[in-house]
Amino acid sequence: MSEIKAKEIQCRGLKTSYLVGVPKSEVKGILFFIHGCPDNHLIWKNLMNRFYKEGYLVLAPNLRGIDKSEAPTDKKRSRYSKDSLALDHLELISHYGQDLPVTVVCHDIGSVSGWELARRLGPRLKKLVAINSPDPMTLFYQFRKISQVKKSWYIAFFQTGKIVELFFDKYKVPLAEKTLKLGRFPEITPERVQEAANLFISFLPHYRAAFAELPTRFLKKTSLVDKPMLLWGNKDPFLNIPTQKDLKTVAKFPEIRVLEGGHWLFLEKEDDVFRLIQKN
């Protein structure tokens, strides 16, 4: 990670920590990585190094409230909204280059801001690569199927205020271990389990904000993301593989690639994911 540096930026009064690698020679474009739950930006270190060596400016922020990215002191939900998170990302991107094409890569709940960022980049968006990472509206449509409801019951549990926080206090370590095992996380070490356990609770406001925003999404017409690439592990225990029908309200001509793997596909199949992100 020698060329990839940890830095911080102020976004509307809150510190946002991020990893960045700026190539010394000509920059091919920006690769913007958004992590999911229960991870932080370090989850992308291998892919970041590989793209950095290919001449890309690589950026990976910690989501709001994760690690050194500050959470609002008043627990204001709006700072976790898709609009606010996307604005955080836009400010970070504009700090490094307003004219460079941007490829957005998101995973898991990183989808909330990842899909929104893709919509707001306009012609600067080169490609959105969503790895096991549906736009919340897609997930909502997937709830028509009982199999998805069975897989995502925990999202409803996350809305239960203090109850879930007490539950996390007591059971966060076994929960983290089970999540990593189910999702086929490679190399599960006690340190990784502890890290995931500590991060879990910081994601609750993200799940709550995404859930709370769903009604307004029905009222407000959003623009479609052009030709996103969706990479899905066929053994993902949390998310069904979306169909073209599930994606019709959020994407135009989506490309869905299903690979042999679990929820952390980019760790399990790093070479394949690296190759597919580069594909035009």
């Binding site: 509307r12 009064g13 709006s78 700072r79 909204s81 609009d83 606010s84 604005l87 836009l90 400010e91 504009s94 307003q98 707001r120 980049l121 306009g122 012609p123 600067r124």
Partner: protein
């Protein structure tokens, strides 16, 4: 008064931070609605719960309100931004009960436009002259007319004439319950209450204005060229002794390079 002015200035600084930040985030093809949405998010993330009016963004010929037939035409539209377009961002956050209302004009891209530079020079002249007009013995009605004459003498059109009640400016005050969200379509209940509870017409600096000059005013001369409009908007204070001064000199249109950006 001093404490209140500090709070008005804090609100104004926030509003300018929002316009300056959003200016850097604009790209070719973004719509007025999306740009106004960025202003809205920026302010809400900075402890703003409500607005005097909805954030506005106008691009290209819409900056001079061309073919605006109803009040709804003022609202941000699906008009997309092109390189070389003149852009006006106008935002009015209420911060801790204190209203700010600012407007910022710039050109998107690196193209220079001599007509826009000329318009901006006129705006800077008006900014310089306006405190003197407020301190003189002329009435507010005459100030409106003088600004109107100056705009026309320089070959431009008076665009603020097309605003509701043709206002060159309006008074801003500390509003009650500023921490509560307001429904803004396009004016919020805070602004309607603030204006109506003080007699409405005395709060609006239009061509028929009558009343005292004392107070904090959001002054917004808006002028139009062939296919563009340009404005600035900021807070002007007139104290009980009749002294008039701009609330802050740290505003984007006084910074180096504004004429050509």
């Amino acid at each position: 008064m001093k404490e209140d002015l500090d709070k008005f200035e804090k609100a104004q600084n926030l509003a300018y931070e929002a316009t300056s930040s959003v200016m850097k985030l604009l790209y070719e093809g973004i719509t007025e609605k999306e740009a106004a949405g960025l202003l809205d998010t920026y302010c809400r993330d900075s402890e703003v719960a409500s607005f005097f009016h909805k954030p506005f963004a106008w691009f290209g010929d819409r900056t001079r309100f061309l073919n605006f037939k109803s009040q709804f035409n003022f609202l941000p539209s699906h008009r997309r931004l092109n390189v070389g377009d003149v852009v006006i961002l106008d935002v009015a956050p209420i911060l801790q009960g204190h209203v700010a209302d600012v407007g910022h004009t710039f050109i998107f891209g690196k193209e220079q436009n001599p007509d826009v530079i000329k318009a901006k020079k006129l705006l800077l002249k008006l900014r310089k002259d306006l405190p003197g007009m407020f301190m003189s013995s002329i009435s507010t009605k005459e100030i409106w007319e003088k600004v109107d004459d100056e705009i026309k003498e320089n070959g431009f059109d008076n665009i603020h004439q097309l605003y509701p009640f043709s206002v060159l400016g309006h008074r801003v005050r500390k509003v009650p319950l500023g921490h509560l969200p307001g429904i803004t379509i396009p004016f919020g209940w805070h602004s309607l209450w603030s204006l109506a509870s003080h007699g409405l017409f005395s709060e609006l600096l239009g061509p028929k204005h009558k009343g005292s000059k004392v107070g904090v005013w959001a002054i917004e001369p808006h002028i139009g060229g062939k296919d563009f409009g340009a404005k600035f908007e900021e807070l002007l204070v007139v104290d009980d002794s009749g002294r008039a001064f701009w609330l802050s000199e740290n505003v984007p249109h006084l910074k180096e390079g504004w004429l050509t950006t």
